[in-house]
Symmetry: C2
Subunit: 216 residues, 2 copies
DNA sequence: ATATTTTTTTAGCCTAGACTAAAAATAAGT
DNA sequence: ACTTATTTTTAGTCTAGGCTAAAAAAATAT
C-alpha cells in the first residue's frame, strides 16, 4: 500500500517517461512542484522498494513493477474522470482536480463498480487510454494536429493536457473529441493553423494548441 | 482546510458527544485507536483553532464552529454512503469503509452533485440524518427497540452501528429499515426479545441487538 | 481520610516528507 | 581543454502526528 505522496511520485514517473523510458529528476520536481532534494530522497526509497532503476546522477527508469503500480493509479484516475463526466454530469474541464483526489482511495470495489457501470471504457474523457486491471495500457498511435498538412482532414481523438484553462478554450470553440476538422492554411512563420469544421466554423489555432490536440 | 487526521478527530467528537455535549478524552483515543497523549496534543491544537473548549483534566466540548465543521464532514460521509447504495448498487454493509475515505475529499461540487442526484435526502442508508450545507442536523427522536413493550408494533428507522458484521446479521434475517416488527415476548432475565414480522418470520434478538435498533 | 486506581498531562523520541544551503558531478560553451 | 552553467547529491532542519514512560491530577474504594 502506497502513501499519497508515493502515489503522486509514481504518477509523475508514468507521465514523464519518454520513448526510452528515462526520466530526469529535474522534471519530476517541476511536475510535482517539490525541490530536487525531495525527489532524490524519494527516488532512493523507490529504488529500495524496487519501483525504479536508479544510479547516482543518472535519469531514473520505472521497473516493470513500478510501471504496473503507476498504471494502476492512472487507471483509478481515468476511470474516475470518466465516471464523473458520464454518470454525474460534470464537464471534462472540471474532473481532473476531483479525480486527483479520488485516485488515492484504496477500495478496489469502488473502481470495479465504476468500470462496470461505465461498460468497461477504454479511454477517458480526454481521450487517454484507461489501463486495465493488470496495468496494461492499450497503446494508441495518434499524431498531433500540428503534424497535419494543408487540405488534410483529421478527427480529434485526445488532448495532451487536461488543464481546465485549455479545455475551456476548446469548449468555447466547440472543439470536442470526435470533431473532424480540415486544415485550411498553415502559417509558416509561427506554425499556426486555420481550420474549418462543423457548420462552417473556422478558427486560427496557435502552434502550441495544435501540438496539444491529438488526431487521427 | 483540515488535514485527514484533524477531520477524523472532529468526526470522533461529533460521534462521542453525549447529552451535555461533554467528551472524555479517553473515549476519543479508543474511538480513533490512538494513545491518550496524542489526543491531548490534538485537543490543545483544536482549542487554539477554536474548535473545542478545553481545560486541563476536564472533558472537552465542541464550540459552535467545531460542531459545524464536524457536521460538514459527517454530511460528506453520509451523502457518500447514500450515493453508493442508491446509485452504485452497493449493499448498506459495504459503504461505511469506502465513505470513510471519500469524506476527506475537498470538492464541494462533488458532494453538491451527489446531493442533487439523490434528490436531497435527509437520512443515509443506516437511517442517520444527513446534516445540511450549513451543518444543521435534523434531530429525530427514535427510541431503541429494547424500550418497547410486549404487543407493541414498531418500524425500524435506523441502526446505531454501521459495522458490516452487524448489518450482515440484519441482512440474513431480512431486517431492513422500514420493516415493521411486533414484540411477542421479552425475556426478563436477559432482555432478549422474540419478534414477528413480514410473512410470519420470527426471530429472537439479544438485548444488545435490540439496543442497536432504532424504531418508531 | 487515606490508599488505590484511573485518567490526563508532560517530556522526549520517531518517521514521512517537505525544506535550505553547500558540495559534487555532469553537461555545455568557448 | 578549460571555464561556466546546470543538475544531482549530501547534510542538516522543520512540522505533523504518531509513540513511550513517568509524573500529576481526579475519581473511587476502603
Amino acid at each position: 500500500m502506497y502513501s499519497v505522496a508515493e502515489e503522486n511520485y509514481l504518477k509523475s514517473l508514468f507521465n514523464l517517461a519518454n520513448e526510452d523510458d528515462l526520466i530526469h529528476l529535474k522534471h519530476i520536481g517541476e511536475w510535482l512542484d517539490v525541490k530536487m532534494s525531495s525527489v532524490t530522497n524519494m527516488m532512493k526509497r523507490f529504488a529500495d522498494k524496487g519501483l525504479v532503476h536508479y544510479e547516482n546522477y543518472k535519469p531514473v527508469r520505472l521497473t516493470d513493477r513500478g510501471k504496473r503500480e503507476a498504471a494502476l493509479i492512472v487507471r483509478k484516475h481515468r476511470l474516475t474522470e470518466m465516471y464523473l463526466v458520464e454518470k454525474m454530469g460534470f464537464g471534462w474541464e472540471k474532473v481532473h482536480t476531483i479525480a486527483e483526489q479520488i485516485e488515492h482511495i484504496h477500495a478496489p470495489d469502488l473502481f470495479d463498480k465504476m468500470d462496470e457501470i461505465l461498460g468497461f471504457p477504454t479511454v477517458d474523457p480526454h481521450g487517454s487510454p484507461i489501463p486495465d486491471k493488470d496495468g496494461n495500457i492499450m497503446e494508441v498511435q495518434h499524431k498531433s494536429l500540428s503534424e497535419c498538412e494543408i487540405g488534410e482532414k483529421a478527427t480529434l481523438m485526445a488532448v495532451r493536457q487536461s488543464s481546465s484553462d485549455f479545455l475551456n478554450y476548446l469548449n468555447v470553440r466547440k472543439l470536442y473529441l470526435g470533431q473532424t476538422v480540415e486544415v485550411k492554411e498553415i502559417e509558416p512563420f509561427d506554425g499556426s493553423m486555420k481550420i474549418i469544421y462543423g457548420t462552417d466554423q473556422t478558427e486560427i489555432l496557435s502552434k502550441k494548441v495544435c501540438d496539444m490536440l491529438l488526431v487521427r
